[in-house]
């Protein structure tokens, strides 16, 4: 039986690309126009027709309000999030609030969800593949930025489903790039993937060997990409124009769209030439029916100056990622450049300088991600495949504990599938139920993380706080699906959820939830260990106290002896204080000192006797 065909789709912020493995060779599938990438744009034309890709891009200037681009920036986001706020200000199309605190886009009075918009793009990619292959395609692997959280991944999966695709796996873009890079060659090395696209920046470190691709570490910034470079150019143009003509071009949507186009065009041109003309005739008309033109020259040097901090930011993130992976720059044996922005000479130079090696050539920055997705697709369905991708969780996972803190069970960058358990206890006397809030993120404070889901475990035995033990187990499957189980260790009763979507709560709402539920929380069980430590401490303490009068009588005669009595008293007090504060590390330390004290006491006593 021939194995089923699986396409790989790089669903980009700016451009999308589709690929497939044919007879063991991964190839990019060109669209009808012969282009290997398709703009991630969706528009509704005046006649109500839906336009996707190049056609949508071509009419964007004249139909800016009904043309959606960079929808990926909004996918899986909450209405109240900063990402959405900025988009509302900068996007020419109408963004409104959806019923689930999500985001909707209005095009010619029709309301679309973001997954719907993405689904149109995916549908287009599916069609491109089907025309090329001459058969229907069902299955796909879709890539997302490494930094996408669970909600964004889920929304991307939803988009796939809406488009009629069975999304068999979501993988990270940089991972896909490494797969394409390492495919068919027997390399054994650590590589860095530097991906600067239209809207996001990602850096990942992978270990390749023997057909296995292991992600060691991954990080990035979902708000750093080519559009930011474009915006710098636009700002510069607008500023100069305002200075010369006292007119703010931003006020005119049409002008702004044209500015965006020329800015990006100029930026791309400056990757191959040193300076370029920017020409926008009739950019705006003054009140007196008089048209103004915009005409200027932008040099590569000026562009580099305008965007220097953006490039620096990417390098800072690289440095941080290496540090987190406990690697030095010298450990990286190859750097793979991904994303259209890496065509900019200054970017290449900065990367080469930082890693101290020339980025590897020969992998096409626009195609490599889709190729990798196709390779992973083939590897999954083909039994004879000798490729394995070991992916990691991009964010830490855990639960909220008393005080609104986040207790991590699974650390960021843990290889999946994985599971982890931890025992928690009740926080109140006679607490009969606990609420488990499942969170994702890196912050210590629960409300600063993403809430993935919640459930309640009831029917606990009435007991004093800290007595009832609840074991919480996290499991992440190979395809990244998170399930969480809580078990009453006494009764064996349990409750679990499979995290499927974000609840769409804002930080504020989570904070309110924390307040409302503070009586149902759990806390980390340090109790048992503490009790053990306390027993041990108290045993030593008793003996020290017993000997105290006798010892002080023997030794107080000398200066050294008086010092020793004072110190011993200090140690006893320290141990008492640690017990009262239930301070485990403090008590451990104090017990050590107590033991030394006791030894000294015994020595003193036995010496006098003998």
């Amino acid at each position: 039986m021939a194995t089923e065909k699986v396409i790989g789709i790089d669903l980009g912020t700016t451009n999308s690309c589709v690929a497939i493995v044919e007879d063991g060779t991964p190839v990019v599938i060109p669209n009808r126009g012969g282009y290997k990438t398709t703009p991630s744009m969706v528009a509704i034309a005046e006649n109500g027709k839906r336009l996707v890709g190049h056609i949508a891009k071509r009419q964007a200037i004249t139909n800016a309000e009904n043309t959606v681009f960079a929808a990926k920036r909004l996918i899986g986001r909450k209405w109240g999030s900063a990402a959405v706020r900025t988009s509302i200000e900068t996007m020419p199309f109408r963004i409104v609030e959806g019923p689930h605190d999500d985001v909707r886009i209005v095009l010619r009075d029709q309301v679309f969800s973001i997954p719907e918009i993405s689904a149109y793009i995916l549908q287009e990619m599916k069609m491109i593949a089907e025309e090329y292959l001459g058969e229907e395609v069902q299955k796909a692997v879709i890539t997302v930025p490494a930094y996408f959280n669970d909600g964004q991944r889920q929304a991307t999966k939803d988009a796939g489903r809406v488009s009629g695709l069975d999304v068999i796996r979501i993988i990270n873009e940089p991972t896909a790039a490494a797969l394409a890079y390492g495919f068919g060659r027997n390399v054994e090395r650590k590589v860095a993937v530097y991906d600067l696209g239209g809207g996001t920046f990602d850096i990942s470190i992978l270990e390749i060997g023997n057909g296995v691709f292991e992600v060691i570490s991954t990080a990035g910034d979902t708000f750093l990409g080519g559009e930011d470079f474009d915006r710098r150019v636009i700002d510069w143009l607008v500023f100069n124009f305002q200075r010369d003509n006292k007119i703010d071009l931003r006020k005119d949507k049409m002008a702004l769209q044209r500015l965006k186009d020329v800015a990006e065009k100029a930026k791309c041109e400056l990757s191959s030439v040193r300076e370029t003309e920017i020409n926008l005739p009739f950019i705006i008309s003054t009140g007196r029916n008089e048209a103004l033109h915009l005409q200027t020259t932008l040099t590569r040097d000026k562009l580099e100056e305008l965007t220097a901090d953006l490039v620096d930011r990417t390098i800072d993130i690289c440095a941080k990622t290496l540090e987190e992976a406990e690697l030095g720059k010298g450990d990286i044996e190859d750097v793979i450049l991904v994303g259209g922005m890496t065509r900019m000479p200054r970017v290449q130079q900065a990367v080469a300088e930082f890693f101290g090696l020339e980025p590897c050539k020969g992998v096409h920055p626009d195609e490599v991600v889709a190729l990798g997705a196709a390779i992973q697709g083939a590897a999954l369905v083909d039994e004879k495949s000798d490729i394995l991708l070991l992916d990691v969780t991009p964010h830490s996972l855990g639960i909220m504990i008393v005080g609104g803190y986040f207790h991590k069970l699974i650390e960021q960058n843990t290889t999946v599938p994985t599971s982890k358990s931890h025992v928690f206890t009740t926080v109140k006397d006679n607490q009969t139920s606990v609420k488990i809030l499942v969170l994702q993120g890196e912050s210590e404070r629960a409300e600063e993380n993403e809430l993935l889901g919640e459930f309640v475990l009831t029917g606990l035995r009435r007991a004093t706080r800290g007595e009832v033990e609840i074991e919480v187990t996290f499991h992440i499957s190979a395809d990244g699906i998170v399930s969480v189980k809580a078990r009453d260790l006494e009764t064996g009763q349990e409750q679990s959820i499979t995290v499927t979507a974000t609840s769409g709560l804002t930080e504020d709402e989570i904070r309110k939830m924390i307040d409302a539920n503070k009586d149902y929380m759990v806390e980390v069980r340090s109790g048992q260990e503490f009790e053990k430590a306390r027993h041990a401490a108290e045993r030593v303490l008793d003996e020290v106290e017993q000997l105290f009068p006798k010892v002080s009588e023997i030794i107080s005669g000398s200066d050294f002896g008086q010092d020793a009595v004072k110190k011993a008293r200090g140690v006893v007090e320290r141990a008492r204080a640690a017990i009262a504060a239930r301070d485990l590390p403090g008590l451990t330390e104090a017990t050590e000192a107590l033991t030394r004290t006791l030894n000294m006491f015994r020595g003193v006593v036995s010496k006098t006797r003998g």
């Binding site: 296995v212 599938p417 994985t418 020793a564 000192a593």
Partner: protein, 316 residues
């Protein structure tokens, strides 16, 4: 392209389960997938040199090429009831692969990360990684993507998780391994205490020659195997010299737990507290130490000198 899995399985380099170093525990340990969370370290006997000569049941059932001796396998008595049931399960994993999964589960249940990956204490990081990658390819659930897996879905997930954790455990101690080259393996003495002593000697040599970082690595290796107060004191001093105050204190505290009334230990502990900026505790240790009657005047004198020195410094 690389050959298909069957071919890889035949390669000698592969730390295949069939030729794995399997302790006696492996044969009797119940193959519980839940053992994925088994303790990272074996209880005793480290470093257990990988023994290839322990004939176990895992080795026997290797079926003749092409032959699928399912019934024979069930009869050989090596499988427990749980495994027998799993062999009879209607899943899309062939029988040999299932047997491998059982064998791997036993290795995991034994709890030794070295044995799990089929490497030895002398293996370097690269060798460990290779072993991990090869085993991952065999036991990662993705190998059976889209197949009907029944109870094996969970078995594989747990197995892989255990492998990944073993790999993490072994490679987190990377400095330790960098110090030992594969050539040391041949000359490694059999008893853990002897082995630790040898490592300790080499650490002292490194320290004397001025390679403090190398010395600390070797001390860490030695202490992992055997940790008498004497080693701990020396290691603590070395850590202080290298500016690793936290590590120095950790070693000194351990030494003091072992020998609380030993004056040398007290001196080291006080010095470590001092290096960590905990002057009060340093003083406390010395004040008590001078009260403990000892025979050795010289040592007593040194303790008092330390105390005077500490007070002079604290006074400044």
């Amino acid at each position: 392209m690389t050959p298909p899995r069957a071919a890889i399985a035949a390669m000698p380099a592969r730390p295949a389960v069939a030729s794995a170093p399997a302790g006696p525990a492996a044969a009797s340990a119940p193959a519980r997938p839940a053992a994925a969370s088994a303790p990272a370290r074996p209880a005793a006997g480290k470093p257990a040199p990988a023994s290839d000569d322990a004939p176990t049941t895992e080795r026997d059932p290797a079926p003749p090429r092409g032959g699928r001796a399912t019934v024979q396998v069930l009869d050989d008595g090596a499988l427990d009831a749980d495994e027998r049931a799993a062999l009879a399960e209607d899943v899309e994993i062939d029988v040999d692969d299932r047997r491998r999964i059982f064998a791997m589960e036993r290795r995991v249940a034994a709890g030794d990360p070295l044995a799990m990956l089929g490497v030895t204490d002398a293996s370097d990081k690269k060798a460990i990684k290779r072993a991990y990658f090869v085993l991952s390819k065999e036991f990662h659930p993705d190998r059976y993507y889209g197949k009907r897996l029944g109870t094996f879905a969970l078995r594989l997930a747990h197995l892989f998780d255990a492998l990944a954790k073993a790999y993490a455990t072994l490679t987190e101690d990377a400095p330790r391994r960098r110090g030992t080259t594969p050539s040391d393996a041949a000359s490694r003495p059999p008893s853990p205490a002897d082995y630790a002593a040898e490592l300790f000697d080499r650490a002292c040599q490194a320290e004397v020659s001025g390679d403090l970082a190398g010395a600390l690595r070797l001390f860490a290796s030695a202490l992992r195997v055997d940790a008498p107060a004497r080693y701990l004191r020396r290691a603590s001093r070395c850590a202080m010299a290298a500016g690793e105050a936290g590590l120095a204190l950790e070693y000194a505290r351990k030494a003091a737990t072992l020998e609380p009334s030993d004056p040398s230990t007290s001196r080291v502990l006080a010095a470590a507290f001092k290096a960590a900026g905990k002057l009060e505790q340093a003083e406390e240790v010395l004040v008590m130490a001078v009260m403990i009657p000892i025979e050795n005047d010289q040592l007593m004198h040194e303790l008092q000198a330390d105390l005077a020195d500490l007070r002079r410094r604290a006074g400044q």
